[in-house]
Every structure is written in structure tokens, then in C-alpha cells.
């Protein structure tokens, strides 16, 4: 058992941190970037590709680097620390993860290689208005010319319906769409060229970008074997994305605790610095406690991925999701409150971080959602075991 990074992981963290520090030296740089059309920095994206960061999760055979979850988690934490708006989670972890999980060897080699090199951007369209973190598509329906039960022949697939929110959907070249298969055969995953769908981009509260995507007989290519129910794989990739999102939230919280501590030390009121006021320093202590608890759970859930058991990963996703949701809300709210008015402003990172935490949370599964799932399982075990 070991909760420390090895030398290579340390080096990765330093490298990513260095790159991001040059791109987002301060919050103004982030403000400039999110005000741009794309909402993220394509040059930085290119440098991430060059460093191999975009290919981290994918096998070398598919043009990736073949790194493990700990490495991906490190990247997400660093992105969170500077509130980087790059669609790493959406494009690489989530959409790329779907391709890697269910794509045919040819599809994987084609798409993941181009994704890793920064040549194409993907986005996962798995949520429709009114749906809530479900691996069963209901807002987008797939249709096929010809009979699904006859195995042979070239069949043409089309999609109809609306996916929204599609994180990173505005910039995506190819959409990875979950859709209900005909005749109740479950949920399939399809590739749709962005030009074949009606994409309307918008910004979320943290100014990262999402999109509303309308499919209207849009031509689609099944990912993997056509017509199979892929909801189990869809759920697992959502769980992995949840865990990586928790890594990103951890990075945000680390920055918020540091910024708040620094502020209390430097800001003067009534002729003294704020750290003179015990009611405030005690609250900073409680923020730190939440941060450390979240940190422990994030490390644990990230390591649980390596075990590879789907149920265990789902459990880990719920547990870290609940923890990060609770801790994130606590830390995010207190960070603003302890900063006072300045924490409310868009020019200050701390309040925007609070927005970012909520966007990650509501996108990937919020506290009540995870609590509900965990509640259903409390009678399945005697104790929750930290170590197997």
C-alpha cells in the first residue's frame, strides 16, 4: 500500500504544472481564454498533445501512451488548480474513453491516434434534457434501414433527438453519441460527424463550454459491433470520468484553500490581518479538513480503477462523487465567504473556482445522486473496507 507518487509521476506532475503555469500564469489569462470563440486555448491543446498528455489513457497500439489512472488523475488535478477550460475530461477521458471501451480495433486506431495528436476533438453526447446521469439513452433514438436481426449487409444508421448538455460539444469534430436502439434493444454508441448535427454551443456558469445538439435523421456510424446494448460500458466510462472529475475538483479545492489562507494572512480589517480573527481561522481549518478527506478519497478511487472490477469502480465513483460534492460545496462556499465581496467577482479566481466545482458536480453526478445510489447498497455489506 502506497499513497505516494513515484519519480515518473512526480515528473509528469511537474511537467504539466509547468506547462499550465505558462499558459495560465494568472486568472486574467484564463479570463482571456474563456472569452475567446473556442473557450479554450488551441495552442495549449497542441502542446498537451506534444507532451503525450492527450494520449495518456490510450494504448500505444492505438496511438496513445498507455498510462494508468494515477497519471490521468495527476493531469486532471493540475488542470483543476488553474481552472483550465480545456476539454480534457470531456474530450479525452469521457469521449475518448467511450471509443477505447467499445470501438472496433480499426475505429480505435483511427480515432484515438488522431485524438492523441490533437488532430480531432471528440465530445460525448450522453445526456438529454431531463435525463440525469443515466447510461440508458432516452432522448436520442437510433434507427436503421433494414432489419436489425439480420446480421449481414451494409445498413445505414440515423439518429433523432436532442443531447444537452454536451460538454465540449461546440468544438468537437466528431460526436460520440449514446442512443436508444430500435425495438428496445438497449443503448448503443454512435459516431456522428459534427457537421451532420445541429450544434449550438454555450457557456456553463464557469465559462467552460457545452453545447445543445439536435439530431434530425443525422447519419451515424455504430461504434463497435452494431446493435449491441452497450449500457454497461457506458456506465463504466461515466464512472471513470466521475473519478477523474473528482481529481479535477481536488485541484480546484487545493487552490481555493491556498488562496483563502493567503488572503487571511494578508488582508487587513480593523487595522489587523484577518488571521487575527479566530472565527475565521477555525473555518479555514475546517476547509483544510474537508480538503484532506477529499484528497484521500480521490487517491483511493483513482487507485481502485486499476483493479478493473466494474462494480468496484462504480462503488468508488459513487463514494468519491459524494465526498467531492460535499467537500467541494463546503470549500467553495467558504472560500467566497472568507474572501468577502472580492470572492464574488469574476476577476478573482476563487469565486470562479466555486462555479467550476459546481459545474463538475452537476455534470458528472451530484451529491444527492451518489448518496441515493450508496443508500440503496447499505445492506449489501457489513463494513466498508478501505483495503481489500
Amino acid at each position: 500500500m502506497d499513497f505516494t507518487y513515484d519519480d515518473e509521476q512526480q515528473a509528469l506532475r511537474e511537467a504539466v504544472r509547468g506547462l499550465l503555469a505558462s499558459a495560465y500564469a494568472d486568472h486574467d489569462a484564463r479570463r482571456t481564454t474563456v472569452a475567446s470563440d473556442d473557450g479554450f486555448d488551441r495552442a495549449l491543446w497542441g502542446r498537451l498533445a506534444e507532451m503525450g498528455i492527450l494520449g495518456l489513457p490510450f494504448s500505444e497500439a492505438d496511438g496513445g501512451v498507455g498510462a494508468g489512472p494515477v497519471e490521468i488523475g495527476i493531469v486532471c488535478q493540475e488542470l483543476g488548480r488553474v481552472l483550465a477550460p480545456e476539454p480534457y475530461l470531456a474530450c479525452v477521458v469521457h469521449a475518448g474513453g467511450l471509443v477505447a471501451a467499445v470501438g472496433s480495433p480499426e475505429q480505435k486506431a483511427d480515432l484515438l491516434g488522431r485524438l492523441s495528436s490533437g488532430e480531432v476533438l471528440l465530445a460525448a453526447a450522453d445526456t438529454s434534457p431531463g435525463s440525469r446521469w443515466s447510461s440508458h439513452a432516452d432522448g436520442v433514438r437510433a434507427s436503421v434501414s433494414g432489419d436489425l436481426s439480420t446480421g449481414s449487409g451494409q445498413r445505414a444508421w440515423t439518429l433523432d433527438g436532442v443531447a444537452d448538455p454536451v460538454m465540449g460539444g461546440g468544438a468537437a469534430d466528431i460526436l460520440v453519441v449514446t442512443a436508444a436502439l430500435p425495438d428496445g434493444h438497449g443503448t448503443g454508441v454512435f459516431l456522428v460527424d459534427a457537421s451532420a448535427a445541429g450544434v449550438t454551443a454555450y457557456a456553463a456558469a464557469d465559462l467552460t463550454r457545452a453545447a445543445s445538439v439536435r439530431f434530425d435523421g443525422s447519419a451515424a456510424t455504430p461504434l463497435g459491433q452494431p446493435g449491441r446494448d452497450l449500457s454497461a460500458s457506458i456506465a463504466t466510462i461515466s464512472d471513470l470520468t466521475r473519478i477523474m472529475g473528482a481529481n479535477q475538483s481536488l485541484g480546484v479545492m487545493q487552490s481555493q484553500v491556498r488562496a483563502t489562507t493567503d488572503y487571511l494572512k494578508s488582508r487587513k480589517q480593523f487595522g489587523v490581518t484577518l488571521n487575527t480573527f479566530q472565527a475565521l481561522t477555525f473555518r479555514a481549518a475546517d476547509m483544510y479538513v474537508e480538503l484532506e478527506l477529499a484528497h484521500s478519497m480521490v487517491d483511493w478511487a483513482t487507485m481502485m480503477i486499476a483493479g478493473g472490477d466494474r462494480e468496484a469502480v462504480a462503488d468508488a465513483a459513487d463514494r468519491v462523487g459524494l465526498q467531492v460534492s460535499r467537500s467541494g460545496r463546503h470549500v467553495g462556499q467558504e472560500a467566497i465567504q472568507l474572501h468577502g465581496g472580492i470572492g464574488m467577482t469574476a476577476e478573482y479566481a476563487v469565486g470562479v473556482g466555486t462555479a467550476h466545482l459546481e459545474v463538475l458536480d452537476q455534470w458528472l453526478g451530484n451529491g444527492p445522486h451518489h448518496l441515493r445510489r450508496l443508500s440503496e447498497r447499505v445492506t449489501d455489506h457489513d463494513l466498508v473496507e478501505a483495503l481489500s
Partner: protein, 383 residues
């Protein structure tokens, strides 16, 4: 002790309810009830409708449009407005500078400003906080120096809410830098069209523009725009902050928001955990409302009552909690917060995240919750 309103008060409440729900334009009320953004024109229009009926500034002296109501009547007036979605009369006018001018102003100032203030012909802004004088207001540095009959003002104010619409601004300025910091402050009224006044927007984390910085560079202010005593500004500030007992906590609006949320929640209300959160909040709001009623019902009594700090502290916490529940109910749909109006996501869900973020201010502005706790522990508990 009795719970029923007297027949007169019940009749009063009905009259308010009737007026608010029939005479204030439906579109304005819907905007409020649905949590959408009010335009400044809507705020002005609504206040003028109220003022025409004598309902904009009932707590002012009768000769300036006040109504000589009991505290309970003011409470009912205030609750019914919130319940009906009527915008509360602009606080800077109705609750802040109006009562100050009525109490401290010269006869000339009263005649010049009070009718226009009640009718929102003048939109007032507040110039109190500064970058280094927030909770510690007395450290303010904006200076006013005598030059003949005029004052020359230099400095910077911040957190000026809705200052972009302001015609005039009431400011606390340092008129004597030599004395103890509270003792050298005066209140000046400043025409915001004066040369040297500049208003710069501050963007907030919800993307909205509701607060501003206001810069003064050699702004000349005629001497007759000093309110009250020279160097008596701190007294006015304390009067102003201690003035409010009614309507401190946004009870009615929060109740209304929670009721709307229940409707929006739809099938999610079948979840026992959601129901429990709603039930808990409804109970908390009831306790808060009853506490507000105890405050107004007690006002003739000599006994100490839970002061406005309790209402402010708890009221803003609950307002924030309701917004958290809304956000959790909105879920992924809340991500579409800056989507256009043709978004397929429901409006309430799209507004959930900005509202949640915006309401973080509730426990900061107008005396942070830390200040409220300090008032409670010092003033009420004697600690």
C-alpha cells in the same frame, strides 16, 4: 398570546394582497416569481405604481408620504409584496437615504429630494464601502476637502449595487483626517452626472453586472449637499444600519421560491430524500417567519427581542439553502446557464447555477454573517 390577525389587520392584508396582485403589472411579477432578471425600467414602473397608492414608502414620516402603520402592518405589506412577486421598493431610496434625509436633512433637502426619491424619479446609489473599508467601514479614505462653499471629493467607492442606473449617490466621505477615524466622516449627496464621477462595472461570478466601482476625481459638490452635521456621518451610518427591523430577512420571497421549486421538481418529489430536504426547509422558513412576526409583535414591549441580526443571518442561510436544492434538482440541465432562450433546457434549471452563485453575496453584502454573529454575541449576549 393569539395567532389570529385582528379583523383590521386581516382586512389590511387583504387590501395589500388585492392591490399587489391586480395593480402591479403581471409581467413584472412573473419576472420576479420566476427568478428572472428585472430591468431598471421595470423596477421604476413598479415603484411608481406603489407610490401612486401610497405604498412605496409607508415607513417614512406621514408628511413625506408615510403611512403611520404598525410594525405588523409593515410586515404584512412587505410579505405580501414578496408573495405576489412585487419588487420591493428600491432599498437605496426607500429604506436608506429617504429616512436619512427625513431625519437629518434640512427642510430644503427634504423638499428637493424626498418626493422624487419616493417616486424613483431619482435613482439613488450607495457610496459607503471602499476597497479597504468593507466590514471595517470606518477606515474609509474617500476625502472631501472644503473649497469655498463647495466640497472637492476624491477617492473610490466599491460594491455600489445597481450604480449603473444611479442618478445620485449618497456617500460617506472623510472630512477630517486628523481625528479618530469615526469622528472625521460626513455624508454628502453627489449628482452622478457631475464631472469627475466615473462608474465602472464589476463582473460577478454569475456573469451579471449588478455592482460597480465609483471613482471620484476632483468632483465638486455644493456645500448644501452635506447631510446632517459636519463630521456627523458615523451617526447617520449607524442610524441607517440600525433603522431596519422589518423586512430584513427575505422570508416571503424564499418561501415563494421554495414553493415554485416544488412545482419544478415534478417527479423528483417522489424521492424521499428530496421530500425531506423540502420539509426541512419549509420548517426552517416557518420558524424564521414566526421569529420575524415575534419581532414586530414585540415592538411595543420593553423586553429585548431577537434583533434583526438573527433574521438576517438565518434568512440569508435559508435563501442560500433553497438555491442549493434548486441546483441539485436541476442537475445536468444547470450546465446550460448561459445558453440562449431557445435552449431545450427548462428556464428554472438554467437559472439554478447563476442564482446559486449570485446568492453567495447574501451572507456578505449589507453586513456579513460574521458581522451579524458579532452583533448577536456582543449586543444581545453581552459577550
Amino acid at each position: 398570546m393569539q395567532l389570529e390577525l385582528s379583523p383590521a389587520d386581516a382586512e389590511f392584508r387583504n387590501r395589500m394582497r388585492e392591490f399587489f396582485t391586480t395593480k402591479v403589472p403581471q409581467e413584472i411579477r412573473d419576472t420576479v416569481l420566476e427568478g428572472r432578471h428585472l430591468s431598471s425600467d421595470q423596477i421604476v414602473e413598479s415603484q411608481r405604481v406603489l407610490n401612486a397608492e401610497g405604498l412605496a414608502v409607508p415607513h417614512w414620516p406621514v408628511e413625506w408620504g408615510g403611512q403611520d402603520w404598525t410594525d405588523l402592518q409593515r410586515h404584512l405589506w412587505h410579505e405580501e409584496m414578496q408573495r405576489a412577486g412585487v419588487p420591493i421598493p428600491l432599498a437605496f431610496n426607500a429604506s436608506m437615504i429617504g429616512p436619512v434625509i427625513a431625519h437629518f436633512g434640512t427642510q430644503e433637502q427634504k423638499e428637493r429630494f424626498l418626493p422624487a426619491t419616493a417616486n424613483l424619479d431619482i435613482w439613488w446609489s450607495q457610496g459607503f464601502s471602499e476597497p479597504d473599508a468593507g466590514s471595517d467601514l470606518a477606515s474609509l479614505r474617500t476625502s472631501a476637502v472644503r473649497d469655498g462653499d463647495d466640497w472637492v471629493v476624491n477617492g473610490q467607492k466599491t460594491w455600489t449595487t445597481l450604480g449603473q442606473h444611479g442618478d445620485w449617490i449618497f456617500t460617506l466621505v472623510r472630512t477630517d483626517p486628523e481625528v479618530k477615524k469615526q469622528a472625521g466622516i460626513s455624508m454628502l449627496l453627489i449628482d452622478m452626472t457631475s464631472p469627475g464621477v466615473e462608474v465602472r462595472p464589476i463582473e460577478l461570478i454569475d456573469g451579471g453586472h449588478e455592482v460597480n466601482e465609483v471613482w471620484f476625481s476632483d468632483v465638486r459638490v455644493p456645500g448644501d449637499l452635506l447631510v446632517g452635521e459636519l463630521n456627523g456621518g458615523w451617526t447617520i451610518a449607524k442610524f441607517l444600519l440600525g433603522n431596519e427591523r422589518v423586512g430584513v430577512a427575505p422570508v416571503g420571497a424564499t418561501k415563494r421560491a421554495l414553493a415554485t421549486l416544488k412545482t419544478n421538481a415534478a417527479a423528483q418529489l417522489e424521492d424521499p430524500l428530496v421530500r425531506a430536504r423540502v420539509a426541512e426547509l419549509e420548517n426552517d422558513l416557518l420558524a424564521l417567519e414566526l421569529t420575524a412576526l415575534r419581532v414586530v409583535a414585540h415592538s411595543s414591549d420593553g423586553e429585548p427581542h431577537p434583533a434583526s441580526s438573527v433574521l438576517k443571518l438565518r434568512g440569508t442561510e435559508l435563501q442560500q439553502s433553497v438555491s442549493e436544492l434548486a441546483l441539485d434538482l436541476a442537475g445536468p440541465a444547470s450546465l446550460a446557464s448561459r445558453a440562449e432562450d431557445d435552449s431545450p433546457q427548462e428556464g428554472w434549471a438554467r437559472r439554478a447555477a447563476p442564482t446559486y452563485l449570485n446568492l453567495r453575496k447574501a451572507s456578505i453584502y449589507g453586513g456579513s454573517n460574521e458581522i451579524q454573529r458579532q452583533i448577536i454575541s456582543r449586543t444581545i449576549l453581552g459577550l
